[in-house]
Amino acid sequence: MSGWALLLEATIRVVGVFGMLLTATLLVVWFERKIVADMQNRVGPMRAGPYGILQTVADGVKLLFKENIMPRKAEAMLYLAAPIAAAVPAFLIFLVIPIGRPFTLGDRVINLAGTDLNIGLLYVLALSSIAVYAVVLAGWSSGSKYPLLGAVRASAQMISYEAAMGLALVPVILFTGTTSIIGIVDAQAGSVLGFLGVWNVVLIPSFLIFFIAGVAETNRAPFDLVEAESEIIGFHTEYSGFRFALFFLAEYINMFNMSALTVTLFFGGWHGPDFGTPSWISWVFPIFWFLAKTTFFLFVFVWIRASLPRIRYDQLMAFGWKRLIPISLLWLVLATVAVAVRRIGLPWA
């Protein structure tokens, strides 16, 4: 293929991912507000558009036109860079997640993902670490002590839970034998009884650890003491207007990413029954299954937020270091033994 065609293809992929994430964010914020309202016997946003579906658009436009305030003591460059450092990794993570079955165009196989990185999983972990920098820089450069304390708290939390998250992903790599996310999805093909996906269901402990760590990593309730908009003061206290909107955007994209990753790594990604439909329609089903599963985990995120109170900082740290990391280490050992037994058989056999 010529260079121009490659450039065009890359552009389509990047713009597609970008547009999809922005649309998803608009819907996820609305979805969360509606579900939380339902769980509290309220009706939620009802004014902007049918059932308030355009509420996020209205909020976004409002934030866009609000004044950007910078404290006099702020470090200007870092203060301006921090929201971008929060938003960019959030967008980039989704690039490696396939949303549907690959199709062939001519002699090329085209994946429905931004790109097929052979180090996809490491790439995801690396980018989620960069989000910590955004938090630290935002808190420190604000030149105010409350954001600074919030940033210290947030970075400690994110680093602690990242350890558990990384450990939880090792069994996935061991089982599937690849770090490419597309490879991991391919390894989850096949079904029992013709329709029940096999997926990576044997990795349930990994899933639980990953999901809990993911909730902490995205700073969602009950681990949302990073922001705690109602009581504690968080790292983005001094931000306003569109810069605050970028943090907000990053949070919801990360929530979407985390749901999509959970689906991709443990629940078969886009795999699902297509009911033997002809090929001109069957390409819809993988995308549908991917979005349906992702929506389910988004619902779980919101459900957790509506149900659980925020935990205390020492509880957060104790849970991360004294429970989650030992459990994930233990599970890693068990998984290693299981993989070894599957490969080379029992030592006495």
Partner: protein
């Protein structure tokens, strides 16, 4: 198995939130739906008139004196003999209430000897500048047909029935505050609204002197 119960304890919360999703919503879609307010609702004030159109206010300034928020300003003046405004000697020729200060306690209503000032069920009083929050005599005095003056009577926030419920406080209490007269139609019905019909368990007829029948 204590630890297992401890582990399941927080999970009960998830069942609660899921169950709540099926329960009916409690939201009232204000302003499309409005709740029926209690009869003694402490809304904005109104200055009443007698059925013949005379103003009830005699400019005694008792309301201003009793007001804990000091939001009422009254100045009385002698009635012009050829065209009296009120039945007595004096009338209130300046009557202003600062609604930003008012705490809607209703002490002015209780203090008023002629029931000139009562409270309505109107509460939507947002203004665009602070001067508009001071209600003057023109805005407080009910029109001769018995409705409460309102800057935007056509607004969908305004219920026309509420505009006519000017003397809700008075009809819910006894005239002159005497317990024996509770529920008996008073001698000063609001113009345009007429006598309040007796409610359940109340006698329709008053005694020979206008008081209770027995």
């Amino acid at each position: 198995m204590g630890w297992f119960a401890d582990l399941l304890g927080p999970m009960k919360g998830f069942a609660v939130t899921l169950r709540q999703m099926t329960k009916p919503r409690v939201t009232t879609s204000y302003p499309h739906q409005k709740k029926v307010k209690p009869q003694r609702f402490h809304g904005r004030h109104v200055l009443n008139r007698y059925p013949d159109g005379m103003e009830k206010c005699i400019g005694c300034e008792l309301c201003a004196g009793v007001c804990p928020a000091r939001c009422i300003y009254v100045r009385g003046a002698e009635n012009p003999p050829e065209a009296p405004v009120s039945p007595g000697e004096r009338y209130g020729y300046v009557y202003e209430i600062n609604m930003l200060r008012c705490i809607f306690c209703g002490l002015c209503v209780e203090a008023c000897p002629t029931e000139a000032i009562t409270m309505t069920q109107l509460f939507e009083m947002s203004v665009e500048n602070r001067d508009d929050a001071i209600y003057t005599r023109d805005e407080l005095l009910m029109s001769p047909d018995g409705t409460v003056p309102h800057p935007e009577p056509a607004s969908n926030l305004i219920d026309l029935n509420e505009l006519r419920l000017a003397d809700g406080w008075m009809r819910a209490t006894s005239p002159s505050g005497r317990a024996a007269y509770e529920g008996i139609p008073g001698w000063t019905p609001t113009a345009g609204v007429g006598l309040r019909p007796p409610e359940r368990g109340q006698r329709a007829e008053a005694g020979p002197d206008g008081g209770p029948a027995e």
